[in-house]
Each structure stands twice: as C-alpha cells, then as structure tokens.
C-alpha cells in the first residue's frame, strides 16, 4: 500500500457501483447450458423410452420389488446398527481379546466383497449341510438342515446385516471417540456407571458425528441390496432385470428402477438433513457461536 495523498475530508459519500464477477458468470452460464442440454436430450431422445418407463413405473412387479428392497434395507440396517454398535464399543475395550475380536470382525467383513458374503450365506448348505447348535468341540443340542434355517431371505439379511455391522462399527467407534473426554469424566465423577455413561452421556452427544455417515451408509445399503440378485431374490433392480430379460426394454426399465432409487434416496436424504439440523441445533457450538455471544451479551 503506497501512502498517497490524505483521504478526502468529510464529503458526500460517493455512489456505489454494482460489483461484477465475470469469471463466476462464465461458470454459471456453462452449468446452465449443460443442465439445459441434458434435460433437453433426456426429453427428446426417443431411445430413453419414456412411455415404457411410465408404463412400468407403478406396475405391480416393480412396486413389489421396491417393497422387498425397502424391507431388506430396513432389516439389514437395524442389524447393522445394533451389531455395529456392540462391535464398535467392544473395539474400545481395554481387554485385548475383546478389542481384537472386534478388530477381526471388522477386518474380515470390510475386507471381502458383499457379493461373496451373500453367495457364501446363500450356498452355506454346500459347506455345512447341517447346522448344529451346541458348544464348540462339546455336546450339541439341536441340528438343523442349513437350507431350512437359512432361506434366501435369511441369507440376504445375514450377508447385508453383518457386512453393514462392520462399517457401522467403525462409525460408532469414531463417533464415541469424538465426544470430549471431559464429558465422560464429569459423568464418572457424578457416580454414573459405565453403561449409563455410554447411553445417557456419550451416545447422545456422538449423534451429530454419527448421523451423516450413518445416513450415507443407509443410502449405500439401499443400493447394495441389489446384490441379492445373486440369491435370486427379486428386489427392485432384479425385478427390473427379470422384466427386461423378457421384453428387451433394457434401458427404460433400468431408468424405471433408477427413478425409484432416486426417490427413496431423496426421501432418506431429507430425513438425514432434518435429523442433522435437529442435532446440529442443540449441539454445534461452532455454527451458533455468534448467536450465543449475542445472547450472553444481552443477558449479561
């Protein structure tokens, strides 16, 4: 900064001209053009087969596939959250065997493709034709045929749920560790027990850290359910595939399924957003720092 002439003495303020961000507007124009072109092409290109899409969109087969997808997603997610929570908390244990078992669980299930896991559960009868309930290397209480016990649906749930649990375990671990040690100490100093501290103090405060990745997981799981096609379980995508295997309307049916996925994901995202905001509001010190300052300032 050069030290120029003294600033003009008090005078009428100069008019202010509007600011122009040329570079930015170029980006905007390009984005709008691309967006417009994509939309235009989607609508006008006959190869997308919109009439076929609309014909199938609310057909019974697609809707029942959708229902199966939702059901699978929901049940697997519940298993994932519950089991993942247990495994994630075990991982923080000071006992090396417990922490190690948790580590091994996560290592194995994150390290192998879901596809293989599903196939494994689906063909468990090829490996263990009979499942024996009992003490390892000890007496057995009951025997089941693997095929009776593990139906395709059970295999799907097991495969997806266990896999999800491994991912959720990592999320829970990170979430629990994100809560300030001081919170735990304060709770301990008040005479709370370990379980109580976890449930009443740590987990609720880990929520803001838990929700976004859990939301992502849920959305991911929704789409991973399409893997159960390998078990011939007709969820949304596989239903569409079975249809186009016969009528050869491949692209319109893939679009039909994708539209449903987009809709469900959008709904889930909105839910996630609402939850995030809810927890964000009562927790985040960062966002509301200034507002808080205002409150304190005016209350003082």
């Amino acid at each position: 900064m050069t030290t120029t002439a003294p600033p003009p003495t008090r005078s009428a303020p100069l008019p202010v001209a509007r600011q122009r961000h040329y570079g930015r507007w170029v980006v905007v124009v390009v984005l709008v053009a691309v967006g417009g072109f994509v939309t235009f092409s989607l609508v006008t290109n006959p190869r997308f087969g919109w009439p076929v899409v609309f014909e199938w969109f609310t057909s019974e087969r697609i809707l029942s596939g959708l229902l199966n997808t939702l059901e699978l997603t929901l049940i697997s997610m519940v298993i994932g959250v519950v089991l993942g929570g247990v495994v994630g908390i075990m991982r923080l244990s000071t006992n090396p065997v417990i922490a190690g078992a948790s580590w091994a669980f996560v290592w194995f299930f994150r390290g192998t493709p879901v596809f293989v896991q599903l196939l494994f559960w689906g063909s468990i009868s090829a490996l263990y034709p009979v499942i024996v309930l009992g003490v390892p290397f000890g007496p057995s209480f009951a025997e089941f045929s693997a095929n009776d016990l593990i139906t395709p649906f059970a295999a799907a749930i097991l495969g997806l749920g266990l896999n999800e649990a491994a991912y959720m375990a990592e999320i829970v671990r990170a979430g629990v560790r994100s809560v300030d040690e001081g919170q735990r100490e304060a709770a301990a100093a008040l005479g709370m027990g370990r379980a109580r501290i976890m449930w009443r103090v740590v987990l609720p405060q880990a929520m803001p850290v838990l929700i976004p990745p859990t939301g992502n997981e849920l959305i991911g799981l929704l789409k991973t359910t399409s893997m159960v096609a390998v078990l011939a379980f007709p969820e949304l995508l596989y239903s569409a595939q079975l249809i186009y295997a016969v009528n050869y309307q491949t692209i319109p049916l893939l679009i039909t399924a994708s539209l449903w996925y987009l809709i469900v994901t959008s709904v889930l995202s909105i839910g996630q957003y609402v939850l995030e905001r809810h927890y964000g509001r009562s927790f985040s010190a960062r966002v509301s720092r200034k507002k808080t300052a205002a409150m304190i300032g005016h209350a003082a």
Binding site: D180, G182, Q183, E185, A186, A187, A188, A189, L190, G191, M192, G193, R194, R196, R200, V201, P204, Q205, M207, S282, F283, A285, S288, T292, M295, I296, A299, A300
Partner: protein, 271 residues
C-alpha cells in the same frame, strides 16, 4: 445473586479428616508427577492448592476422585478407603460399581465446566440424582431448582449449556455436583477458563458454599480468593508439597523460594 435459601451442605459428622491423602505417589510413564504427597482436610475446612502449571495439582484432585489410579499410598474420604476394600487382611481393588458409589459423595468441578451439552441446565442437575440415586423426578427437580436459585440461575433452568456464558455454565456445574449431596467438593481451577468479567459470580458462589461449611479442596490461581476464603493453603511444586499452613500466613509470608517466586509472579500480573 447468591440467595442462600437452605443450608443443606454442613460438615458431616466425621471424626478425623474428611479427606486424608497419605504418601500418595503417581507417575505417568517415566515422569513422577506426585512424589509421596500427604494432605489432610478437616470437615468444613477450605483448602487451596496452589502451584505452577504442571506441578501436579490436577492429578492430585483426580486421584482423590479415582479418575486416576494411584501407584502407592492410601486415600480416605470421610473415613472410607478409596479404591480398595479390605478383605481377609488384603486390599482388593473395588469393582466399577463400588468405585461409582464412592464417587457419589465426592463432588468435582472441572476447569472446562464439562456440562452435558445435550441437556438443559435442569436436566444436567437431575440426571445423576434420578438415574443413580433413584430419587423421584419431582423431588430431584425441586432440589435442582433450589440449587439453581442458590447459584443465582433460577431463571436459566431450561437453557442449554451453549446458551449460557462460561460463568453461568460453571455455576450450573457446581449445582450439579451439589445435587449429589457430596461430603467434599473438589474444584480444579474453576475460573481459569472464564472471561475476567465472569469470574466474580463463580467465586461468589464458592464463597457462599464455604460459608455454609462445605469441605472444599480448591485448585486456583485466584490469590485474592484464597486469601479471603481459604483456611489452609498448600503449595505444590514438582509433585511435592513444598509449603503448607494457614492461608493468612503462607500467602503473606511464604518461606520457600519457589512459593515466593510463584506468588510474586501471579501478583504482578494482577496489578
């Protein structure tokens, strides 16, 4: 602000010291943080722990409350051995449950308040009485409101911690500790994370508490407060007690060199 409605926190009937720390040692890795520390605090006494940063003041408080385990020595609070029980002539470490039970009669106030950020001031206070002591919600609530009133925050019951200033948060934290009806209160630099403007309110609450006869161990840099409220003062340096005595004597005429250096340094800043 400080309306002393009820005087529930009087010294308990204990013969002998309320807090009795005997030859306690503690090290982290290779560093010996406490080197055979002795400390006795009588019922109703206010004891201020002074000492420069890193001298082991916080560690000592944390040992009393079993937030740290000790390597050697013994600690008794209200006559009860802390952390161990005697059975057939041997010391057995207490179970987690028993440790939790012992902690209930020791109130602790932290430098960074540590209020549960997802609960209102009221919920912070009643969480432990209802959840741990199984007090009925209505009783706990009535008592909590009384305590909030006592720390001058009767109108802030429904505020979340983030809606309170640091000083207000610290006062809620004190109320929260008092709600468990502790035999002794430990304070770890309760005002050093506060803006200067807000220090006074917290010290005021502590002053009232002392006047009501609460046994208190206070780590602080507020020499003014120590001079006014403390019965005894203990100086720690490098994990050892270098000087101890009546507050009036030690603070005006310190004998040990490091105490003198510390006091002159802190007082210079306050000028």
């Amino acid at each position: 602000m400080s309306t002393t409605t009820t005087t529930t926190t009087t010294a308990r009937a204990v013969s002998g010291p309320m807090v009795d720390v005997r030859e306690v040692r503690k090290h982290f890795g290779h560093i010996e943080v406490l080197k055979s520390v002795d400390l006795a605090v009588q019922p109703g006494e206010v004891c201020c722990l002074l000492g420069r940063s890193g001298s082991g003041k916080s560690t000592l408080l944390r040992c009393i409350n079993q937030l740290e385990s000790i390597d050697a020595g013994e600690i008794f609070v209200a006559g009860e051995r802390i952390g161990y029980e005697e059975k057939r002539g041997k010391l057995h470490p207490l179970s987690d449950r028993a440790v939790a039970r012992q902690r209930r009669s020791i109130g602790m106030v932290f430098q960074r308040f540590n209020l549960f950020s997802h609960m209102t001031a009221l919920d912070n206070i009643i969480e432990s009485p209802t959840g741990v002591l199984r007090t009925s919600r209505s009783t706990a609530k009535a008592r909590a409101l009384e305590l909030l009133d006592r720390v001058g925050l009767a109108d802030r019951a429904d505020h979340y911690p983030r809606q309170l200033s640091g000083g207000q948060q610290q006062r809620v934290a004190i109320a929260r500790a008092l709600a468990m009806d502790p035999a002794v209160m430990l304070f770890d630099e309760p005002t050093s994370a506060l803006d200067p403007e807000l220090v006074g309110d917290v010290l005021g609450v502590m002053r009232d508490l002392a006047a009501d006869g609460m046994t208190m161990v206070v780590v602080t840099h507020e020499i003014g407060f120590a001079r006014e409220v403390a019965d005894t003062v203990v100086f720690l340096d490098g994990g050892e007690v270098v000087e101890r005595g009546a507050a009036s004597e030690v603070l005006t005429a310190p004998e040990h060199a490091s105490t003198q250096a510390f006091l002159s340094r802190v007082l210079r800043e306050e000028a």
